[in-house]
């Protein structure tokens, strides 16, 4: 069974190599997507491979000549990869997000790679505005047109509907795995779970769906219950945390029962409505998904992230919260104090880990996680008494 996560990991660890092989095999274009809100469905319907651009493990070197070191590691890595020619195999980049750092990155890519088309159309960031649906529909229609111009082929609405169905299926598969993990019926490491989601961001969808079928079928089931401490993992916008950090958390006797990570539940939690016309389905997916799981890069009045987390902790039986915050991630920095205050008020243990692209002092971190685990353990004992 371990073979499947390993196969997924291969694609997840070297997504651009995977894309190059796919391109060589199919002769079709590869489109890089920037996070966090741009659907791959449309690029897929246009016969392209959508690949969500990932941070890589290389140290930032030449990228430093184009971006300050007070930008988040994801942006610095994307700029560095651009300058190292890692994106030369892409046929275009598509995005529509709002994070100010990402906007800067897009401009640097444009300056470095003037021949690489960047299809940028900013999504409406005010989700509860009266005009949000109309604007979002307009944005996706515009992208539709631009993709057609890029590939020189019309996108058949029936193909778009088919892509939506396929992507929905893939998300549902991953959610099923999340359910099994939450119920404790399967044992899957945090590292493997990351490989599952990350590979779904970069692999050919049909291939990923087939692998997920196998994984869900063959994964050994176990009786719920484990001695490890159940905790919830939150945050980490735009890219995956380093697997070593997840390993370290688990090595301290902690079991991750659920998460809202971008490379996690945030990426798969919402489906597109298959009964709607494709553009309509994408627009409502975009608006609704950020309402059901609040995103710090969008403005909404209704729901708060901390309220979401409190409910989710309860639902998943987690006894504590670990927040992974990307260093210099402004959207997260704005909202974290409210999460902290809400968890303090309810006396639920929580731990903030700031992650960096560069090497992190894991020994010191381990001591902090162990202390946190001890606090959670005491809470578990108190609750059991």
């Amino acid at each position: 069974m371990q073979q499947i996560p390993d196969q997924m990991r291969q694609a997840a660890d070297a997504p651009l190599d995977y894309a190059a092989a796919w391109k060589a095999r199919t002769g079709r274009p590869v489109i890089g997507l920037l996070p966090m809100n741009f659907p791959g469905e449309l690029a897929h319907a246009a016969g392209c491979l959508p690949t969500l651009l990932q941070e890589d493990d290389e140290p930032i070197t030449i990228g430093q000549s184009n971006m300050f070191n007070f930008y988040c590691g994801y942006n610095r890595s994307i700029v560095d990869q651009t300058m190292r020619g890692r994106f030369d195999g892409l046929d275009a980049i598509m995005f529509g997000d709002h994070c100010v750092q990402l906007l800067g990155t897009a401009d640097i890519i444009r300056a470095e790679k003037p021949d690489l088309p960047i299809l940028f159309n900013q999504l409406c960031t005010v989700l509860d505005a009266g005009w949000a649906m109309r604007e979002t529909r307009g944005t996706f229609s515009q992208i539709w047109k631009e993709l057609e111009a890029l590939t020189g082929e019309a996108i058949d609405p029936a193909a778009a509907a088919q892509s939506i169905r396929l992507f929905n299926r893939n998300r549902a598969q991953i959610r099923a795995l999340y359910d099994l993990r939450r119920r404790g019926e399967v044992s899957i490491s945090g590292r493997d779970m990351q490989a599952v989601v990350k590979s779904s961001m970069v692999m050919d969808k049909d291939e990923h769906v087939s692998l997920m079928d196998l994984l869900l079928r063959d994964m050994p089931r176990q009786a719920p219950g484990s001695g490890d401490l159940p905790i919830y993992l939150s945050g980490h916008m735009c890219h995956a945390p380093k697997p070593e950090i997840i390993d370290l958390i688990e090595e301290c006797g902690i079991r991750i029962v659920n998460d809202d990570l971008f490379t996690g539940w945030r990426f798969v939690h919402a489906d597109m409505d298959e009964s709607l016309a494709p553009v309509e389905a994408m627009a409502s997916w975009y608006i609704e998904k950020n309402r059901s799981l609040p995103c710090p890069t969008r403005a909404i009045k209704g729901k708060d992230w901390q309220d979401y987390l409190l409910v989710e902790l309860e639902n998943s039986g987690a006894l504590g919260l670990v927040v992974l915050m990307v260093k210099f991630c402004e959207p997260h920095m704005y909202f974290y104090p409210e999460i902290k205050a809400a968890f303090d008020e309810k006396a639920i243990p929580h731990l903030l880990i700031e992650t960096e692209h560069e090497q992190m002092p894991l020994e010191a971190l381990k001591t902090r996680v162990e202390t946190f685990a001890e606090i959670v353990r005491r809470r578990a004992t108190a609750l059991a008494a």
């Binding site: 300050f68 444009r110 708060d304």
Partner: protein
């Protein structure tokens, strides 16, 4: 409103007394700004509703509806310029706001937290001699919050936090001013399909804003009054641009720092005769200086362009720093590419579309190629020798394209340098680095001249 602080280790600043020949006429602006804040502090007594807002220069919408407005950035900048920001930032940090977060926002939110503490406890709990008290106790709480921040996501999130800190009870209206990416084939400065679409989109939201204001005041919105307010704003904007144009002469009669001081009037003061009078005064003084051949830096040898957000704790300090090496910072992105930069777009009979377009052309809000093209035009126009980039640590909105800007400067034969500082957090400012880099740039400019 700013003063030159003591900084004992500076090499450049100690080379003789103050050299920056500041415009005298801007003093009137100081008076207007003080009066404006006084009117803000008196708002509740005067029975006026108060709007807190962030972002672009939308006060004419509030002025026309007889509201009092508080610009979060101006408040933070004012605290920083008066060296009163530290307490606010400390309160923000105590609540959990990381110091890498936009310091404008941190200052404003921190101040808000201090005030909320006071309201909650019914007592400010501070020493009566605490100098922070004076400003802290006065700012009226908002009746409405409006956000209209071009380009920068931090600017939008900032008001989300304000809204939350006031218990999600204060009505809030957010205007999206989307980036003009400039990727379509017909894109250009103020042209192309994207420009047309985005202009209409922002104009529609502004119209919606007037409905929001009417709804939350129970009063009909007076569009004629908006036109009237804009008459003054448009006139003032034209005068400002004419006066800026006069700085093409050598030596430049005014500097970037004079224009920095002039931002408050054009950015958030009421659109009335005082605004026009202010810029008439500035223009008249500049005209006199042109006639007399008098420069903002008496022995102007180098002409510089300032890129980046202002370092509000250091306005006077930096003015002296550059003047001390006979460098006149003549123009800047912040001052010369914003604040009603294209007044001819405003149709006084129906001003909303033109206002939307002026908001859209905030310099950050263009994709880099168009924005840098405009910077180059300014550098040519003002005969600039070098570009100084203020790498403002917590303001990614303005640092985003700075490496590209520096590259472009070099491409056109201009020197460029970076210095490290911040919009409102003094702890990020590195004086020694600025000294060294400025000296190096001056040497390069000299070498280039010798070679020519």
């Amino acid at each position: 409103m700013e003063t030159v602080s003591e900084m004992p280790n500076s090499k450049i600043i100690s080379a003789g007394g103050p050299k920056a020949n500041k415009l005298k006429s801007t003093k009137f602006g100081g008076k207007l700004v003080s009066e404006y804040w006084e009117s803000v502090f008196r708002a509740k007594e005067a029975g006026k509703k108060v709007v807190w807002y962030n972002g672009t220069y939308i006060p004419p919408f509030f002025h026309a509806h007889d509201l009092v407005w508080v610009h979060g950035e101006a408040w933070a900048a004012m605290l920083a310029a008066r060296h009163r920001e530290i307490g606010a930032q400390a309160r923000g940090e105590q609540y959990g706001y990381d110091r890498e977060l936009c310091s404008y926002a941190r200052t404003h939110i921190g101040q808000m937290l201090i005030e909320l503490d006071r309201v909650r406890s019914g007592d400010h709990g501070m020493d009566p001699d605490d100098p922070r008290l004076e400003t802290m106790l006065k700012l009226p709480a908002p009746d409405m919050i409006v956000n209209a921040y071009p380009y920068c996501s931090s600017g939008q999130q900032w008001d989300d936090i304000t809204y939350r800190n006031f218990g999600k009870k204060v009505p809030m209206f957010t205007i999206q001013i989307p980036l003009l990416w400039g990727g379509r084939p017909d894109a250009g400065y103020m042209q192309g399909e994207e420009w047309e679409q985005r202009s209409k989109y922002v104009a529609e939201q502004l119209l919606e804003l007037t409905r929001f204001l009417a709804e939350h005041t129970g009063r009909k919105y007076d569009y004629d009054r908006l036109g009237e307010t804009m008459t003054y704003v448009k006139k003032a904007a034209e005068l400002r641009l004419e006066a800026m144009d006069m700085c093409q002469v050598h030596p430049s009669p005014a500097s970037f720092f004079d224009w920095i001081v002039s931002i408050a009037p054009v950015n958030f003061l009421p659109g009335d005769q005082n605004l026009v009078t202010y810029f008439e005064g500035v223009k008249a003084e500049i005209a006199e200086r042109v006639k007399a051949g008098q420069g903002a830096v008496p022995n102007e040898k180098y002409r510089l362009f300032f890129d980046g957000m202002m370092n509000w704790n250091k306005v006077g300090w930096l003015a002296e720093k550059f003047a001390a090496v006979d460098a006149c910072v003549v123009a800047g992105r912040y001052t010369h590419m914003s604040f009603w930069q294209e007044p001819q777009l405003i149709d006084l009979g129906d001003p909303i579309l033109g206002m939307a377009q002026n908001y859209l052309i905030c310099p950050n809000n263009h994709g880099a190629p168009i924005m840098i093209g405009e910077i180059e035009k300014l550098c040519d126009k003002f005969d600039i020798d070098g570009v100084v980039c203020h790498a403002s640590r917590t303001c990614r909105g303005m640092t985003n394209s700075q490496f590209l800007i520096a590259d472009s400067a070099k491409k056109y034969g201009r020197q460029s340098m970076f210095f490290e500082g911040d919009v409102a957090d003094e702890s990020f400012y590195k004086d020694e680095l600025l000294n060294i880099r400025l000296e190096a740039m001056i040497e390069s400019m000299d070498a280039k001249r010798r070679a020519a």
